[in-house]
Symmetry: C2
Subunit: 203 residues, 2 copies
């Protein structure tokens, strides 16, 4: 059986949980308290992920696969959640890279600082305005795409939508106002209405 | 013919250039001066990439594909540079996500600030120690993998290696010392010796 090394508040972990739920794939979940460094122990670094992060998908043979979007790709291959067309696959990956580079470090990081009550160090105080601005810019790029397309890649719901949904649907927990983005809000509602959908709080 | 919207100093652009050279695929290259905002003009945002970045691969039919790692994936499908095995493909993507999230924002960003003579704003000054530390951590994770494996995924040179090579081989331009990483330096040398290899300065 698959094992997901996870933290229940993590949007990156939720990406895997949501896809596993949609696929009706059973798995075991191991919860880590990231606030006390549970993913930075010598044992975790040696046996689960040398990069010290969750989520990690552990396969039947013990192989540990880190990185939320790689986990999505692995689980989705051969299912309708990964487009079959070459260009659509690349476009799914395009949006997943956008999520990791332009969206997550801003929208997710501010939410993490706030919801985990992290100390506002001088480094975080200095970074906040830039992250706020870039997070808003990422949401605007999503709105621009969703004003013209119902989904992010291949004309159908895919792992690109899951990747971007994870932290967008809880962006308001990080103080991002989603009111200016009607197409984005309609897309969030379409995903929440999918058969088999589970909320981020569901372990 | 393919068109690459590019900047010659960009490691992200170099990923595409290096793979196109290895594949012997002809293409047209358009250079943008990122220091004067050439990728943030209304025309660029409307016609090339709403996210305002290079590289973008423009296909024969005009479709514009942003995100360096999505471009690598698109070009590599059906070639030896993308593993055929499902797990190896996911592991290639794992390392490409690691590159975009844990490596590039640290190793590449500091190099960019230095080599493009950017003003050291209070935000950049505050961010520098964290980026330096995380960049060193990323290099150490790579060294740990390369001490036990010749390549990053599937037991052969792949786009995961190209993605990580791009900014690692010029990390010293950002003040990162590569001496402590012998396996990493041997890997850099193996890539530079590949038939068809081109340097980052080659347009």
């Amino acid at each position: 059986m698959l094992t997901l090394h996870d933290n229940i508040t993590s949007g990156n972990g939720y990406k895997a949980r949501l896809l596993l739920a949609l696929l009706k794939t059973p798995y075991k979940r191991i919860e880590y308290d990231v606030d006390v460094g549970a993913t930075r122990t010598p044992e975790y670094l040696a046996r689960v992920n040398a990069n010290g992060r969750i989520p990690v998908l552990q396969l039947d043979d013990g192989t540990c696969l880190p990185e939320s979007n790689a986990i999505l790709w692995y689980l989705a291959e051969g299912t309708p959640y990964l487009p079959a067309d070459r260009l659509a696959r690349a476009q799914a990956l395009q949006w997943m890279c956008f999520e990791q580079y332009s969206h997550e470090p801003n929208v997710a990081t501010i939410r993490y600082w706030i919801t985990h009550n992290l100390e506002m160090t001088p480094e975080r105080v200095a970074a906040m305005p830039g992250k706020r601005k870039q997070g808003v810019a990422a949401l605007a790029v999503m709105e621009g795409h969703l004003a013209k397309n119902p989904w992010f890649a291949g004309g159908a719901f895919s792992i690109a939508d899951i990747a971007l949904y994870a932290y967008t649907h809880v962006a308001e927990e990080g103080g991002f106002d989603l009111k200016p983005y009607p197409a984005l809000r309609a897309w969030l509602a379409r995903i929440a209405a999918l058969p088999g959908y589970i909320p981020i709080t569901k372990g």
